[in-house]
């Protein structure tokens, strides 16, 4: 069964970009407004899932040659190691720090170590969610046939 999905494909091309941008916005704005690592990650994952649903797995994997498995592992590694790092500065496990800096373009900006931790969480979320969906569809290609 072949469905004519030209409209879907065309729309998705644009929409995915918007969703990805939005996800990064959500991730960065999480410190002061709704958003953050989880939500940013989830939205980004849903963008990828949308791509995989619209096009087939092979096409997308060619275009985005990222191993989502490794991505989730790297995410966990980042969040755990950013949690461990403070020990070496004599701070308790999982201490977070923040400070205000004057950056050339952005002006007075707040930089926080939470962002590293949250980035790890976000990567984990993206990696795992996409990986689950991919595994299922891949598995079926292999075993069902």
């Amino acid at each position: 069964m072949k469905i004519n999905d030209v409209i879907l494909k065309t729309v998705v091309k644009g929409v995915v970009l918007i969703i990805l941008t939005f996800s990064i916005y959500l991730f960065l704005s999480g410190h002061h407004t709704p958003g953050g690592g989880f939500i940013g990650g989830l939205v980004m994952a849903s963008a990828f899932v949308l791509l995989f649903l619209t096009y087939d797995v092979e096409t997308v994997s060619e275009g985005i040659p990222i191993s989502f498995k490794k991505m989730s592992a790297v995410g966990v590694l980042i969040s755990v190691s950013s949690a461990t790092a403070p020990i070496f500065w004599g701070e308790p496990f999982l201490s977070q720090n923040f400070g205000y800096f004057d950056l050339p373009i952005f002006g007075k900006t707040e930089l926080a170590t939470v962002t590293i931790f949250e980035a790890g969480i976000a990567l984990t979320v993206v990696g795992v969610v996409v990986n689950i969906i991919l595994s299922i569809s891949e598995g079926s290609n292999k075993w069902k046939a």
């Binding site: 958003g35 939500i39 989730s72 755990v80 949690a83 020990i87 999982l94 923040f98 707040e110």
Partner: protein, 798 residues
Amino acid sequence: MLLFYILFPLFVALGITIVSSKIRREFLGWIAFSVPVVLFALFARHIPTISSSEAIRTTFSWIPSYGIDLTFLLDGLSLIFVLLITGVGALVILYSIYYLSSKDSFAHFYTYLLLFMTAMLGVVLSDNIIVLYVFWEFTSISSFLLIAFWFHRKNSRNGAIKSLLITMSGGFTMLAGFLMLHVMTDSFSLRVILAELPQLTDHTLFYPAMALLLIGAFTKSAQFPFHIWLPDAMEAPTPVSAYLHSATMVKAGIYLIARFTPGFGGDVYWFWVITCVGLVTLFWGSFNAVRQNDLKALLAFSTISQLGLIMTLLGIGSAGINPAIGEAKGLYTFALFTALFHLVNHSTFKGSLFMVVGIVDHQVGTRDLRRLGGLMRFLPFTFLLAMIGSFAMAGLPFFNGFLSKEMFLTAVLSIGDLPIYGGAQVGWLLVLVAWLASVFTFVYSMILVFRTFTGRPIVDEEYKVPQEASLGMLIPPGILGVLAIGLFFFPNLLSDYLLKPAVEVLVEDGAALAPKIYAWHGFNTELFLTLGIITLGIVAYLLLRKWRPYYQYIPSNWTFNTLFRSTLSGYERLGERVTMRYMNGNLPSYFLYIFSFFIIVMWTTWWIVGPINVTFDSPSSMTVYEGLLAVVMAAAAIAILFAHSRLTAILLNGVLGFSIAIFFVFFRAPDLALTQLVIEAVTTILFLVCFNYLPEWKVEKLSITKKVRNGLIAIAGGLTVTIVGLAVNNYTKFESISSFYENSYELAGGRNIVNAILGDFRAFDTMLEGLVLFIAGIGVFTLIRMRQKKGAEPRENQ
């Protein structure tokens, strides 16, 4: 700084796993070899500082709110151990590079070995008892991994499990003991605990804590009757046996007892329990070593026996802490000193003997005494090394074992002069046991060297003609052999720099009271005892064929091994019988138990507590939309029950999810609303993708009674939850803690309180949540890929 020393092997181990596939395997060995060498040099640099009785301390906070800090302390006692760990470690790794065969995974081996090194360094350097416990269990785990290194052998797996069960249960009892110590002294720091313990002898927990601690130490150091795991642990590759099961890990128990001597020493039970357990172990180990046919089993029992010897000395020495001892204090400090001296000696000669046996096994292909003999002509250097090791172990002159054996006899003789504890009455009996054990020690030392290397050469067709081992395998035992001889001639060098500072840690003025070691101290009782050992030992060895067969009259099923096995299988059977009563394999039944239990517990509680206040008061107002939404949700939920196709059911579930998202908006939870929306979408997609491969659901054919029963439980469950909710809703007995989080901008620099909680205040939850998600991802991935592995060759039960 000490933390970096400890973690250094771990980092290298991580590095090894990463680069293992890229570089040549021998290289991994050399990388691993560099670790203990560097550490040995770094620790050795501290010898001058430590020998002037100072200590090096570093602190990192770990869980400050519970007072658990990573405090590390390098003092005289720790220094001996760290030098042993890194020194013997270096030699063992060098040896293993040549010992392992091309079939073995170098990466795994060195990763585990370095993991062990970190753990062991942690044990002897921690000042915090909880940290010490964590490292302690890590040594058990890495020992487990190393014993099961050849995991395709059934014996290896069994030996690994046995050692894990015994040492871990010992570890748990020790943890309980530690917690009691914490209750007694309100501190986790060893220093504080040791300083306060002598004043707390009347505390109710004093003896329970001591007993639990001793069990932990005895299991780790393979003391009678927990020694049964050590012979089975010999299934590990020989370098591992030499390192973990003779030189370092089994000495962790000794370390623990030595460490706690200033606290518990001076107590009569501490003295007698350790001395007696040590002596029994000493005797039982050497008695059993004689009957072994496997060279490694012989060495295992010999290790048990030697550990018993050190234990005995620690027991005797603890009398020196008692203030009532008076003038005789020096005599008992002498025992502690000897314990440490023999600890070092044992590591040198036993390490070299294990390596020698490894060479024999490696070059000949067997280590069964019945199939060995006359190897002297094929392996001349190995023979020389075996002789050095065995003679040192037997306590013959010109080897370090002679010195410590003589001093041991002095110490045991001194029990008879003990002014307290009533030692004078039973002193002669202990001397007799120690003397007999020494005779057996002499006999098995001779068996080890002469049955293997002299006599008629047995060259079967099936064996290759043995050749001398490569230089790389001879150098490490060679170094240890040279040390064994060198320590005989220059024992006071070791004593001044390492032993005296360590004794100073154990006893006040220990360094001043410590003796100067002499090889010759005139014609005294000890010398005659030694001569007796040698004479009787030689006679016994020559007449071995006459009396060794009598061993078979010892009933073979009356051992602790049998007890251990039957206890284990008994537990398994009991557990199975109990479990099978209610575990019928039917998931709905389990849910039935769970929910019925929940309902019964709640209603019984209410029945006991009395009427509870259920009100329908609602502080917040309700708009029409919210009411409608609630009705929609209720309707959707109930409709799921009657859905005829799974697609309908999923869509209804989606309705629920999205409605909740809208509720989150109403209830001022923007973050939740966002998350819920996305998650609901992804979940629905997930369901739909999976539905491709799942059957259409059929209408359930349940009997009416079952339907009614399920319905009743469901309604009762819902009712219970509602009542709990209503009762709790208006219950404000204490202030909410949430106002604290409203400082999030000052404390965490974020204006979004929810995210500040997630990322900062309660980041631990978030981190673990990431892990849970990751584990679920791995789970999904493996479930799908599992099929591929099915065709793989089974490697079990070879």
